[in-house]
């Protein structure tokens, strides 16, 4: 009796657990294709804003194709030429290919980014990225400035990194053809500054690293030009104010 019951239980469990195959994985992704009516193959590329690693180059005749794009609503960043860029909203159908047809690029905008470290400290390996775009880890110049673009109209999140500084983020919104200045303030970890200050990071050009770790114009007369004396970390002419 117990044996029969055991067999019945196993059979029932097997039946309830079901048999067959149901697969949904092929329908989790789709593909997108299209053609840019105006493009520069040297710079043009199309990528998924929320998954920038999914990207495609653009052929000479402007065609592009994206594979393995997550199904559902998504936004593409389209970089067409050195001045034109845009966002495209697309509904990706699971397991299917979406053809966008001809895409007419729009005029893009530019951001003039300036990084400002605290206490006039010197920046090394300072870079800027714009999330969801091909602009990643771009080096700033010696004045800590960078021009980024073209960017699609809308709002963008910028990320700034520099050795010894904490990553900094900023949001900037631009319109078609607009140029905008963006200042990103960098910070350094509190302890780092207290313990080392400029003795480790150095100071911007022309500044002196004072014994207390701050960058100043001078902290002794030798740092000043002839006829000047160092008073309150500033070079002053003798007899002057």
């Amino acid at each position: 009796m117990r044996h029969t019951l055991h067999i019945a239980t196993v059979l029932l469990a097997a039946a309830v657990s079901g048999c067959g195959n149901l697969e949904n994985e092929p329908f989790l992704e789709g593909s997108i294709s299209g053609r840019l009516t105006e493009s520069d193959a040297a710079v043009a590329q199309v990528l998924v804003k929320d998954a920038p690693h999914i990207r495609s180059g653009v052929t000479e005749d402007g065609h592009f194709a994206l594979e393995h794009v997550p199904a559902g609503h998504t936004v593409l960043f389209v970089l067409a030429t050195e001045t034109k860029a845009m966002h495209l909203q697309v509904a990706v159908q699971g397991g299917q290919s979406v053809s966008l047809g001809d895409v007419v690029p729009h005029e893009g905008g530019f951001l003039d980014v300036r990084l400002t470290p605290p206490g006039r400290l010197r920046l090394t390996e300072a870079r800027v990225s714009v999330e969801g775009t091909p602009y990643e880890d771009l080096l700033v110049d010696e004045r800590a400035r960078l021009r980024v673009g073209p960017l699609a109209s809308g709002c963008h999140t910028l990320r700034a990194t520099a050795a010894g500084f904490e990553d900094a983020f900023a949001t900037a919104c631009i319109n078609r053809g607009e140029q905008k200045d963006v200042r990103i303030h960098l910070t350094i970890p509190n302890n780092d500054f207290i313990q080392h200050g400029c003795s480790k990071k150095g100071c911007a050009a022309g500044d002196q690293c004072a014994p207390d770790g701050t960058c100043v114009q001078c902290f002794e007369d030798a740092h000043c030009a002839t006829g000047q004396r160092c008073q309150d970390s500033v070079c002053r002419s003798q007899g002057g104010p």
Binding site: V16, G18, N24
Partner: protein, 547 residues
């Protein structure tokens, strides 16, 4: 010390239980005579027998045997070997059989028979007549000694009044025997105008039968409506009464249990009267509560009786009861059968109303109306339409959205046991729909679902309404066919699911019913190699055909 405490407590207990004169709360010893106590609680057996044979108004001819009928029946009821009635009162002298005298005797009986288990028999042998009351309605009357032929409603005893008095008796075991008729012949005499009026009616009588019965009471009449109750010179009695008394001698003990019950006695008298009068007099009975048949008129139940099949329902009047192919009796009536499995048929002419195999045990009493109820259409085949859907939103998006279903349901009531049912259903659907793996994503596919279920619901049945609910097991087959860039092909899945079903049916007529049922099932589905428990529901409604 530990030994002293129990002794003190015991002493206190004894002191508390001891009687103490003059104080409240003590126990008082009471001596009771066991025999007196037993007899005080035994149900009493009371009979009032009325025989009216002389009448003041010469228009009513005197009857020869009415008084004798009452006396003879009284003798049988008093007899310790037969009726064992403890109180038998006979009203047959002229000074006792006036209208007022009869009513007074009934009211006195009401004061004496105060307990529900008292057995009360009221017997009336007299002229019956019909007359229009003050509102012009035709009524039955019992003619008392002082009833006037020209003022029947005012001077005769209205059967309605008599019934009202009878119904007020507290006893649940009461029997009214009417050895009188109202047909205008024999022991009945109608005014000439009424006779003329009734002669013009082709189909006999006509108004509703007056042998009514209230709950737990029985009314036996010596003749059916429109027939004649007869006295017979050779029998020296009213014919029905003669055979009723004969039945009390033991001849009527149909099931051989040692007791002659009221229905047995009436059946015996009825059959014998019918045969004796060659079909001209057919005694009738109306009995509402005969299941327990509590009125034992003679003898006592000494052994388990043979099983009995019976019916006093007007619905079955005139049908022949056949047992194992042999005609046993005409209904209303009953018959005793050999215990075991019997084939029971109810026929009229060539038509068979019921043909059933029943198993009857010793002592069982089977009302034939139950077979009638059992033989009613208890199965239904229904065509239903409705929706199939998974209970959770994710499954509806990623497995199968809600889909329309077409179903066929077979409901077998009272299987495997009474008030339970077996419910079989198959349903299917096919069509095109979309998966939605993410917001904005639609993947088209074709689907086919097939479901087969069996359920064991309990049935709650009212007149036209039936509710049912119970466990259900169903097999579900799901097929999805895709034809998109990333996938071309079909996916199949089969699972068996436990769950519950509930529903309602409303009978529209003898054959058709509206029915609706809903089920909630649990199952286990494997998608992309990962198993997940799922619930799914079905809600169907449609039309059923009863058979």
């Amino acid at each position: 010390m530990t030994r002293i405490v129990p002794i003190i407590l015991l002493g206190a207990l004894v002191a508390c239980a001891s009687p103490s004169s003059g104080e409240k709360g003590g126990l008082v010893p009471l001596k009771l005579d066991e025999e007196a106590l037993s007899s005080a609680y035994q149900p009493r057996r009371l009979a009032l027998l009325i025989g009216v044979d002389t009448y003041d108004d010469p228009q009513w001819r005197n009857l020869r045997y009415s008084a004798k009928d009452a006396t003879d029946l009284a003798e049988a009821l008093r007899d310790p070997a037969r009726g064992r009635f403890t109180q038998v009162r006979v009203l047959n002298r002229p000074e006792e059989t006036t209208r007022a005298g009869i009513l007074a005797a009934l009211r006195q009986l009401k004061q004496e028979a105060t307990r529900p288990d008292d057995v009360v028999v009221v017997y009336l042998s007299a002229h019956g007549t019909l007359a229009r009351d003050t509102r012009g309605e035709l009524r039955r009357y019992l003619v008392a000694r002082d009833s006037s032929y020209n003022a029947i409603p005012q001077t005769a005893l209205s059967m309605d009044a008599l019934k009202a008095e009878f119904d007020e008796l507290p006893s649940r075991r009461r029997l009214l025997v009417l050895a009188t008729c109202h047909s205008g012949s024999g022991k009945s005499l109608l005014p000439k105008e009424l006779q003329e009026e009734l002669r013009g009616i082709k189909s006999g009588f006509y108004a509703r039968p007056l042998e009514e019965s209230s709950r737990a009471s029985m009314v036996f009449a010596a003749c059916d409506w429109g027939e004649t109750a007869r006295e017979d010179e050779a029998l020296q009695n009213d014919i029905y009464t003669h055979f009723l008394i004969e039945g009390l001698n033991g001849a009527a003990d149909r099931n051989a249990d040692g007791a002659v019950t009221a229905t047995e006695a009436h059946d015996y008298a009825r059959r014998r009267t019918f045969a004796f009068t060659e079909g001209r007099q057919r005694p009738s009975a109306e009995i509402l509560e005969v299941g327990a048949d509590p009125v034992v008129l003679s003898g006592g139940i000494h052994r388990t009786g043979r099983p009995e099949l019976y019916s006093y329902s007007p619905r079955l009047d005139g049908f022949t009861l056949k047992v194992d192919g042999e005609p046993r009796t005409e209904l209303p009536g009953g018959t005793a059968v050999v215990p075991g499995r019997r084939k029971v048929e109810l026929t009229k002419g060539d038509a068979t109303l019921v043909s059933r195999e029943v198993h009857v045990a010793p002592g069982e009493r089977l009302p034939l109306e139950e077979l009638l109820a059992d033989s009613s259409r208890r199965h239904s085949l229904a065509l239903l339409a409705g929706m199939f859907r998974f209970t959770d939103e994710r499954s509806r998006a990623e497995l199968l959205p809600a889909t329309p279903h077409l179903a066929l349901a077979l409901r077998l009531e009272d299987l495997p046991v009474r008030d339970w049912g077996l419910l079989f259903d198959v349903s299917a659907s096919t069509g095109s729909t979309n998966l939605s793996m993410a917001l904005g994503s639609l993947t088209p596919f074709r689907y086919t679902t097939l479901s087969a279920g069996v359920a064991l619901p309990y049935l709650w049945r009212w007149e036209r309404l039936t509710l049912f609910a119970g466990p259900r097991v169903a097999a579900l087959y799901l097929r999805r066919s895709f034809d998109v860039e990333a996938y071309v092909g079909a996916q199949n899945y089969l699972t068996v699911s436990p769950g519950v079903v509930g529903g309602v049916t409303v009978e529209l007529d003898e054959r058709l019913e509206l029915t609706s049922q809903a089920q909630l099932m649990m199952t286990y589905v494997v998608v992309d190699g990962r198993g997940q428990a799922e619930g799914f529901t079905g809600l169907w409604a449609g039309m059923g055909y009863r058979f």
